[in-house]
């Protein structure tokens, strides 16, 4: 991150290489209840990213040393499938997946009413089937839907969305080229009903004005994704009449 001066990421008319406007997201598709064996599950396709999430629990937390006497533990495991990128990924946990699991658990703790289940564990398994850029955001979006589908009490849903900077222009929802060769990346977890921010990371540099613009774009994108999350959950039980 920091930019590569010789990589062109915007067309002469100001649009992006894939034809999107600077505040336009990639197409998003969300489905709830895709895994019959899980207590709750969701599938999210965001551009070329695909994630599937399974939620199990609440259950007794094991080993006992991880139990918290006054609240549940969110045991999040983010994993990229070996076939999710063009270069094969070595299976298993690595430093990156550990970091993303941790920040995702912390973000989800803001929305899940963990105090309802002391000494318990809620298992959230995030599997990235296909990765293009912004997989942690896709994982968060899918995990929120899966948790709601599992009947876990929550104060709000959570939407993962990212903005960034390419060629000194703030753009919403970076694709792979923009993520690799852009100047900044700002993934956020937004609680759409309350407008609170549960998660925010930044890679690269943004001025204060650029940061404000990026946050504004993220909120706009989150509002769109929130509608899709609601529709996915309602479609599952209403027979598809909410869209």
């Amino acid at each position: 991150m920091g930019g590569y001066g010789d990589v062109k990421l915007l067309n002469d008319d100001g649009s992006r290489l894939d034809g999107r406007a600077i505040d336009e997201m990639r197409p998003v598709e969300i489905r709830a209840g895709v895994l019959p064996v899980a207590d709750g599950s969701a599938y999210v396709k965001h551009g070329l990213n695909e994630a599937i999430v399974a939620v199990y629990g609440p259950m007794e937390a094991h080993p006992r040393r991880i139990q918290l006497q006054d609240q549940a533990v969110l045991d999040v495991r983010y994993n990229m499938a070996p076939f999710s990128t063009s270069d094969r990924i070595r299976p298993g946990f690595n430093r990156r997946s550990r970091e993303i699991s941790k920040v995702t658990a912390e973000a989800l703790s803001s929305v899940v009413l963990v105090e309802r289940y002391p000494r318990s564990k809620i298992r959230v398994e995030i599997e990235i089937l296909s990765a293009e850029a912004g997989t942690r955001c896709v994982g968060i979006t899918a995990a929120a839907v899966a948790l709601a589908d599992a009947g876990i009490p929550m104060r709000d849903l959570l939407v993962g969305v990212a903005a960034g900077k390419v060629e000194d222009t703030v753009v919403l929802d970076l694709d792979k080229a923009e993520d690799n060769y852009g100047q900044a990346d700002l993934p956020m977890g937004i609680m759409p009903a309350t407008g609170e921010i549960a998660f925010m990371q930044m890679d690269g540099d943004l001025s204060m004005d650029e940061l404000n613009t990026a946050v504004e774009y993220c909120f706009k994108g989150a509002a769109d994704i929130y509608e899709l999350q609601k529709a996915a959950l309602k479609d599952r039980y209403n027979g598809g009449d909410s869209q």
Binding site: D39, G40, G57, P58, M59, E60, Q69, V111, L113, Y117, P118, R119, S120, A148, D149, A150, G151, I152, P153, M154, R155, D156, L157, M191, P192, A193, T194, Q229, K230, L233, K234, Y237, N238
Partner: protein, 223 residues
């Protein structure tokens, strides 16, 4: 709140969704007061009973309460107690002092081993989910025959509503545990009818008009 009126279509709510003005009403389970008004905290159907608004969740884990009748399955045995799987997040303890037999220390396994099912009652639950069961009480016993079916927790009221019809139609003895396990004993055809009916309730019980449909299939004996 207009769609909480009697006879209105059920409203499906998701966590965080505002449920409108609830002035003068009590907030029940699945509903909370937040900065942005009254919100639902679970995915489910909004209901109002006697001035209390609550959400009937579509999916929910069994959370034991004192006095619940449960069908438990022995998961582990120690010298003086059994651990029961009660279909909830935590296992229950069944101490030998609360068993219906006189049990010597170290002899628990000879009375009941891993995998056996019992009809028990929740004696005590604390805020940390420590759970103690008892088998001392009328009708509480080890289950030695029949079939144990499962039904989702949120559909138990419907199961209890149709229980009389189901017993007559299937000619089975049926005991509904508050933990979502149902003991059915009778001949093969009767058990099949009862289990298929319970499965139908789990799959379609949340849909409007499901109860009438299920009652009709019980009467027809073709569930």
């Amino acid at each position: 709140m207009s769609n909480l009126e009697v006879g209105a279509e059920q409203r499906l709510v998701i966590p965080g969704e505002s449920i409108g003005d609830c002035t003068g009403k009590n907030l029940g389970s699945g509903v909370a007061s937040a900065n942005n008004g009254t919100i639902a905290t679970r995915l489910g159907y909004l209901k109002e009973n006697n001035g209390t608004i609550h959400v009937v969740p579509i999916n929910a884990a069994y959370m034991p309460r004192s006095g619940d009748l449960i069908v438990g399955i022995v998961e582990a045995v120690q010298n003086n107690l059994w651990f029961l799987d009660v279909n909830g997040p935590f296992n229950a303890l069944l101490p030998m002092s609360l068993a219906p037999w006189k049990v010597e220390f170290g002899d628990a396994r000879n009375h009941m081993d891993v995998g056996e099912a019992v009809l028990a009652r929740v004696q005590e639950v604390d805020e940390c989910h420590n759970l103690v069961c008892t088998m001392k009480g009328v009708g509480l016993r080890k289950i030695a025959e029949g079939h144990i079916a499962s039904v989702s927790i949120q559909h138990l009221p419907m199961v209890k509503d149709i229980l009389g019809d189901l017993k007559i139609a299937s000619d089975c003895r049926i005991i509904v545990g508050d933990n979502g396990r149902v003991w059915v004993d009778g001949d093969g055809e009767g058990i099949r009818l009862a289990v298929n009916t319970l499965n139908s309730i789990s799959k379609t019980g949340h849909i409007d008009g499901a109860k009438a449909l299920i009652e009709a299939t019980i009467v027809g004996g073709v569930a």
